[in-house]
């Protein structure tokens, strides 16, 4: 049974790390109605910041400060947050469909910078040897992973609790008001633009946090980790779980990552070896179908918003 336990621990770590980013996206899309198609880019900023702050020194590459894990996490959030301020100031006035395109493009550009700015990011080689704090404390892969899972759980728990408080606060009610009706929200006396920017930056900080947790766990960061498909995965998790509900966001992360990996597991067993090569495409089609079907049949997700009037009722 040890193998299954070990795999489940591993699976939970990865899906909860995604879950942190989903929580961030939920704040932006679910509660505030901001369409951010650049999740991968903000994750990348956090991931590289973590690598630079906590990783070992390398010749001809900036960073390698070997700072503690927690400093790395905080630094990652700050860096993603600063990035988000700039992006937000430039794009948040745009209409939704333009915002989607602009943020998509930002993620592509950030990935290109990761790929080509060798001095900062190690370029195509990426950065290796990023420490996993659990390895300093315990021995053996299962014990280390279990400890890291605890760390991730603490981070998820804190993020979740903070978000729950935030969305129930007056500021959180303001978010929903903006989502439903910009003009009316403005009449409440707060600048919707400012509140939108705040929500955008907070959400992006969580995405950066997620990227930081990922590189620490994997021990390596490269530009190939932040392709647009990552944004797509995070979005799928939110939509399936149910936007505007933090529990839904985490549930979506577990379920979608489960389907994503389990379908690979099943294909490796069910599909004959000779046509396994087609398995990947089948998996992608399957995921696409689940997503579209979900949107059509249950647009509010598995557990949607706990409100009577949702924006889905209007159009």
């Amino acid at each position: 049974m040890i193998g299954l336990v070990s795999y489940i621990v591993f699976f939970l770590i990865l899906s909860l790390i995604f879950g942190v980013a989903v929580l961030g996206l939920n704040l932006q899309w679910g509660f505030t109605g901001l369409f951010n198609a650049g999740v991968a880019g903000f994750s990348a900023i956090g991931a590289y910041t973590m690598a630079i702050l906590t990783g070992p020194a390398r010749d001809a590459v900036f960073g390698g400060f070997e700072l503690p894990f927690v400093v790395g996490l905080i630094g990652a959030m700050i860096a993603s947050g600063i990035g988000a301020v700039f992006v937000g100031l430039a794009t948040l006035k745009l209409r939704h469909e333009y915002l989607a395109v602009a943020t998509f493009g930002i993620a592509v550009t950030i990935q290109l910078v990761c790929l080509n700015w060798e001095y900062l990011t190690g370029g195509t080689l990426g950065l290796i040897g990023i420490p996993n704090p659990s390895k300093a404390w315990v021995d053996g892969p299962l014990a280390q992973n279990t400890l890291y899972l605890l760390v991730v759980l603490v981070v998820v728990g804190l993020s979740f609790a903070a978000l729950e408080r935030i969305v129930k606060s007056p500021w959180g009610r303001m978010l929903k008001a903006i989502r439903e009706d910009d003009v009316a929200a403005a009449s409440l006396g707060k600048s919707p633009e400012r509140v939108r920017l705040e929500a955008f930056v907070l959400g992006c900080m969580l995405m950066g946090l997620s990227g930081a947790l990922y590189v620490s766990f994997i021990g390596y960061v490269s530009p190939w980790d932040f392709l647009p498909i990552l944004t797509f995965q995070i979005w799928t998790m939110l939509i399936v779980g149910g936007s505007a509900n933090n529990r839904g966001a985490l549930l979506g992360a577990l379920i979608v990552w489960g389907v994503w990996t389990m379908s690979g597991f099943v294909i490796s067993r069910v599909v004959p070896a000779e046509i396994q090569a087609q398995g990947g495409a089948m998996q992608a089609v399957l995921i696409g179908l689940i997503l579209v079907a979900m949107l059509l049949i249950r647009p509010r997700g598995l557990i949607g918003e706990e409100l009577h009037v949702s924006r889905h009722a209007r159009s």
Binding site: G3, Y214, I218, A281, Q283, A284
Partner: protein
């Protein structure tokens, strides 16, 4: 989907308790390869060739009398998916050795977060990054990392030598913007300067773009008399077609990843009659011809393409090391890999007969030297191999060998260049 999932899970659960025991049949070998995504075209053929190697081993009776089951998982070219696939192969399928991945961006995280902590051997056919050597030197691989892909160092050296020996004075370089391409192109630039050639331009390209006209036009500046191209077959064909169409010279030197029928056919062999390339050499032995024949019989095409020879050897070496191990554990496999590729061992060759012979020798307690599809493999302390090199050109549709450098000659050339 649901039913299958449960059945598979149940099957996995039943298998789990007993995976550590050596005598369980079938013995599983995990493969993590990008059969979909941007590298899908390359990965698909590599995956099939890996299966072919397993089939041949099974024909020779398998490992410890057990059939070997080849469990292939798709990485989709994504590190998170690859890492999860590897972890699931190790924990749920109980594999003790992993073949893969292709791109270093996936192999590295699998190595650091799955293979090394779980004490499982990982052998890649294709990952070229210099980071692996760096990690191994720092002692972070615990010896579990191997690759049958001869490192970039020798590739660029041969490429530069070939260019200069052909009398080319000014060379444009177009290379893929990955760790593989960047590493190779930078080395090539240094090597060619040392050998007395010159570079007109170094142009990197990002994979899977709509067209490479801008890159090609830029590389055409300065009227180079030759082009050194580091690419994979799909993009490589696009670039070559645009290069030739826009009036570029047909004096082409290409990296071994373009020694592929997909590439020749896509561009058209008749336009590539001045194409030259290099590759890891195959030993000049009758058994290799029989390997090529067996491959052709199975796939209706010669084994030309990136990673095919090296994945065949990766699978075979790992399975031979399993055969040599009492208990099949990652640790034993790791320790026995050098036992089956020992320079003093009895030479054995690919194919069911060669493997059967190898198994007899191992049963007699002898060390063996597997001389495979990429030549005699000798893994150094970092898990890297050096291979003899050959140069080739196209003659009609056939690619023919034009030169051969033994491992010693390759080492000598590199030493000369590194001075």
């Amino acid at each position: 989907m649901h039913k299958f999932g449960l059945a598979a899970l149940a099957a996995a659960l039943m298998g789990i308790g007993s995976t550590a025991l050596a005598a369980d049949c079938p013995i599983k070998l995990g493969a993590i390869l990008p059969v979909s995504g941007p590298m899908g075209q390359v990965g698909e053929r590599i995956a099939e060739t890996g299966l072919f190697a397993v089939e041949q081993f099974n024909e020779a009776g398998g490992v410890h009398g057990c059939q070997v089951e080849y469990v292939l998982r798709d990485t989709q070219g994504q590190s998170a998916v690859g890492v999860d696939a590897a972890k699931s192969l190790v924990d749920l399928d109980g594999v003790q050795a992993l073949i893969g991945a292709v791109s270093s961006g996936v192999s590295l995280p699998v190595l650091t977060s799955v293979a090394v902590p779980s004490k499982v051997v990982q052998m890649s056919c294709c990952s070229s990054s210099e980071s692996f050597t760096a990690l191994a030197e720092e002692g972070k691989t615990d010896g579990y990392w191997f690759r049958t892909y001869a490192t970039n160092r020798s590739q660029s050296a041969i490429g530069a030598k070939l260019t200069v020996d052909s009398g080319f004075k000014s060379t444009a370089v177009i290379y893929v913007n990955t760790d593989f391409g960047v590493g190779l192109a930078n080395r090539f630039e240094q090597d060619i300067a040392k050998l007395g050639g010159s570079i007109t331009s170094m142009v990197a390209y990002n994979e899977s773009q709509q067209s490479y006209r801008a890159e090609v036009t830029k590389a055409l500046e300065g009227n180079p008399d030759s082009l050194y191209l580091v690419a994979f077959p799909v993009d490589g064909a696009t670039i070559t077609r645009e290069w030739l169409a826009l009036g570029g010279t047909d004096n082409l030197i290409v990296n071994n990843s373009l020694r592929s029928d997909d590439y020749f056919q896509a561009v058209g062999s008749k336009f590539l009659q001045n194409l030259q390339g290099y590759d890891s050499a195959q030993p000049r032995l009758p058994s290799v011809d029989s390997f090529n024949e067996m491959f052709e019989a199975r796939f209706d095409s010669p084994p030309n393409g990136p990673g095919l020879h090296s994945v065949y050897d990766a699978v075979t070496v790992v399975l031979l090391a399993m055969e040599a191990s009492g208990d099949i554990t990652g640790e034993n496999i790791r320790d026995n890999i050098r036992l089956v590729t020992s320079p003093d061992g009895v030479e054995v060759h690919p194919g069911p007969e060669g493997i059967a012979r190898a198994k007899e020798l191992l049963a007699e307690g002898k060390t063996i030297r597997y001389v495979g599809a990429t030549g005699a493999l000798a893994f150094d302390a970092n898990g890297d191999v050096q291979a003899p090199k050959m140069t080739w050109r196209l003659d009609g549709d056939k690619n023919v060998e034009t030169g051969y450098l033994s491992t010693a000659e390759v080492a000598e050339l590199i030493m000369m260049l590194d001075e």
